[in-house]
């Protein structure tokens, strides 16, 4: 078998197996013939492991042949040649995407094996693995995307599965409300991404990364955009990355996302999903290099997020919350590294940090149990020693920072007060005016919906 054919087979396998897993699990649920737990576990294990072997195979090929970039074209989703409009399904295996996709498959596989036992006999077992399959496909597509539209496709799948998994325990209101919050931030992020993609289409004439970044291989490619164009597009991409990675001012969703089951928290918000924004910045790094102002903004945002998250992490009273903000601290540092022009160091940082955080989050439930056992054994609470940094701060400053951390910078409150509340007020007022208008036209009360009880009676009560 020639190298090219072997690459085609392996590369297609990396992409097709997650899609196949999603199809298998999704169709079974749609036709109301759900798989058993063991069958789901087998399908998941088989597809993740095979995809991982294929990805490692591609890496091996690249090392042996010395190729730094291999492209896989799976045709076009749509093409209107006479209008120069293409939505190409192009995937790239290079020094950025291959480590990231291998990392994704390793961690997703690990969490899948963990969740298989952790969620055993849970009523939502099948639902969890369906969303898991959506996430897996989204991560693989986003990691290997060779065009900005394909990356957007994976990006959206990751966002949807994240929000639905936050609401995994959907018989309670709190997880659902938190999932709504996560989804809201993701929609802002998605909108910024879509605008950036369309803007790139216009300034570069095509949506693939090669056209966007000019000639050269990652990370040495040079963008062909002007610095003004790079600043405009880059700011939109930074907004998208900030939403996805929980950078300020969007950091409020991260602790809320911990409402989901531990395996999903570990894989989404501790390891992969939270790094997807940083991955995006790495992928479009040639654009960043075209604008010093943009790089400065990235550095400032990253450092501010890191400092802010470090303060908040110290006042968290639950282990998942503390880990979430600890994770965000590192993500902030990674973003700052990218802004400073580093490329391989942030990539290595992402890989190391994701592995560590996955381990910590998966260990969190049993760690609490261990602490309880130790405390029972010694007969008292374990002492909480003040750190070196806290010792440097004066009392009032410490108190102020404590309040800041406890309120999580009040970013959510500010967004609620200055964005959500005015929005709701304006449209409620419009609704009221419409009511008056239709009442006037109808000559009587025009809304039957006013009589609908807040909690509808069930059929047996009707």
């Amino acid at each position: 078998m020639s190298d090219s054919l072997l690459f085609q087979v392996l590369g297609t396998a990396v992409l097709a197996l997650p899609a196949l897993l999603l199809a298998i699990l999704g169709i079974a649920l749609l036709v109301d013939r759900p798989w058993s737990e063991s069958a789901i576990a087998r399908w998941t294990e088989a597809s993740v492991v095979t995809a991982l072997v294929a990805a490692v195979g591609v890496l091996g090929m690249m090392l042996v042949t010395g190729d730094r970039e291999l492209s896989l074209e799976l045709g076009s989703l749509i093409a209107i040649p006479s209008e120069h409009f293409h939505f190409r399904l192009k995937f790239v295996f290079d020094r950025l995407s291959v480590p990231f996709v291998i990392l994704s498959l390793v961690l997703i596989g690990t969490v899948g094996a963990f969740a298989n036992r952790y969620l055993h006999r849970e009523p939502g077992y099948g639902r969890f693995f369906l969303f898991y399959a959506v996430f897996l496909l989204g991560m693989v597509v986003a990691s290997l995307a060779g065009t900005i539209e394909t990356l957007f496709l994976g990006w959206e799948l990751v966002g949807l599965s994240s929000a639905l998994l936050v609401a995994y325990f959907h018989e309670r209101a709190a997880p659902v409300l938190n999932a709504q919050r996560v989804w809201s931030v993701y929609r802002i992020s998605d909108a910024a991404f879509l605008l950036a993609a369309v803007a790139l289409h216009h300034v570069s004439g095509a949506g693939d990364f090669e056209s966007m970044t000019g000639t050269g291989l990652w990370p040495d490619a040079k963008a062909t955009l002007t610095s003004t164009q790079a600043l405009g597009v880059g700011l939109l991409l930074l907004l998208a990355a900030a939403g996805k990675s929980g950078l300020i001012p969007f950091s409020g969703w991260l602790p809320r996302a911990m409402e989901g089951p531990t395996p999903s928290s570990a894989i989404f918000y501790g390891a992969l999903s939270v790094h997807l924004g940083a991955f995006l910045l790495l992928r479009v790094s040639p654009i960043l290099e075209r604008s010093a102002v943009l790089c400065g903004v990235v550095v400032v945002l990253g450092l501010a997020t890191a400092v802010f998250a470090a303060i908040i992490a110290r006042v968290q009273s639950d282990v998942k919350g503390a880990l979430a903000f600890a994770s965000l601290t590192q993500v902030g540092i990674i973003v700052a590294e990218i802004g400073l022009g580093l490329r391989y160091i942030p990539l290595i940082h992402i890989i190391g940090h994701a592995c560590l955080r996955t381990l910590q989050l998966l260990r969190a439930p049993s760690l609490l149990r261990d602490y309880h056992q130790i405390e029972n054994a010694v007969g008292r609470r374990l002492e909480n020693h003040e750190g070196w940094f806290e010792g440097l701060l004066s009392g009032p400053l410490k108190l102020r920072l404590y309040r800041l951390g406890l309120d999580r910078g009040q970013f959510d409150a500010v967004l609620d007060r200055f964005v959500v509340a005015p929005f709701t007020r304006v449209f409620r007022w419009c609704d009221g005016m419409e009511r008056r208008w239709t009442d006037f036209l109808a000559g009587t009360g025009s809304r039957e919906s006013d009589r609908v009880p807040a909690s509808s009676p069930m059929v047996e009560e009707l």
Binding site: L160, A167, H170, E171, A191, C430, E434, S446, S449, S456
Partner: protein
Amino acid sequence: MSGLHQPWLELCVLIPVLGALVVRFTSRPESARRRSLFVCSLTLVCAVAAWQDFEFLRVREAHDPEDMMIWSIGGRLLVVDELSAPLLPLAALLFLLTHLATLRTKVREFSFARSLVSEAILLATFSSKLPWLVGILLAAGVIPPYLELRKARKPTRVYVIFMGGFVALLVLGQAILAIAPDNSGFSGVAVVLLTAAVLLRSGIAPVHCWMTDLFEHASFGTALLYVSPMVGAYGLVRLVLPVAPTWVLSAVALVSLVTAIYAAGMALVQREARRFFSYLFLSHSSLVLVGLETATPIGLTGSLSLWLSVSVSLTGFGLVMRCVEARTGRISLLNFHGLSSQVPGLAALFLLTGLASIGFPGTAGFVGLELLVEGVIQAFPIAGAFVVIVAALNGLAVMSAYFLIFTGRPHSSTIDLRIRPSERIAVLILTALILIGGVFPQRGVDTRYRAAVRLAQPHADLGRSHLSKTQETGSNIEPAVALTAHARNARPAQLLDPASARLTVPPQP
């Protein structure tokens, strides 16, 4: 114009008419439902056959074969072209699915006979190109919902005022257009009147209140079928787009965009599901109008694709709401209902159709929205950003409704609320359409692109002739004012390229 191999178009209209007569005199509601299902299925077969027959002929438009005409005049009046060919099966499918998903608890409220008459009028409208015939059929379409409101003793004044205004504007516009000489000021007035009429029928703000009022008082099925095929958009394409000057198109695009934003915001603050749905639908249908007014091949292709995907996905979305209503009564959005554990199939379809409507990747709406954003940004760069914001707001609204209706609290019922076989069939058909349309969109986009090119042609010609005239006379008038929004961005040499049979989008620098 070529002839189809069989009189499919006449059959599409005649079958539901005859079926309505039969169903009207069927006393038992369950029998009426079964017969109406048979009639709808037969109509769908004819509509699909018409579409496929037309595709096979590979012509610009086609009519029924003259030697096989059932009506002596019908064969000449009813035509199918690239725009309407897929709209026929779409309309027939929407009626079939709505009838299929009508549960026994609702068969006495929902008039199958009246619905079949509506189907016949709708299919006749989609098979018409002559402006006066389109006008008559659009006007006739307002009658069945009015009859239902009357029969159910519901308030009709709001509906009558708005739809009466629609019919009046339509008649006045057509009359002036028929008697006024070309290029006179009167023809401009007629275009404005016709534009106002179709905007009213499309529910563009601030004349949208009839739509929420209809959802308040009519049965959900009737209201859904009245709005979901987007007849207003069809009226716009047939009556306004061929004759409208650029400023009218720009104005329509602007008010449509404002409506899309307004309706998306209103959907987020609604406290009851039907009103929520009506605003959500309005937001989406307004986006379709925005795309139509770009008059560029890409924008039009996106708009026409979105038209189909939004009709299918939001009809599915509405049908799920209707199924939930059949179990719980009208749905409040003030509290969580937690129905997911009882009706997981409906919950999944609700989510899927909602995501398809907002253009989520992998669903039928994705490609349409991508093309629409691309086309709108080409034509009106700032407006493109607002289209994206509307899509984001609609995404929030869909997810919020999903969480409120299907999650948030445990729910138990002593009665089996699970999905019924007929509902399951409707669910599976819709799911298949949404996913297949999302994964293999190329064929659908090709047909929409061909229709879009035909629609953009008059504007390209208009731009070309005006540009030539301006160059000949040395006028200082900016030629772009006569061009379509797209043509503003095109280089004159490309617009005037005689080898080009249609308007071409200039390659990006």
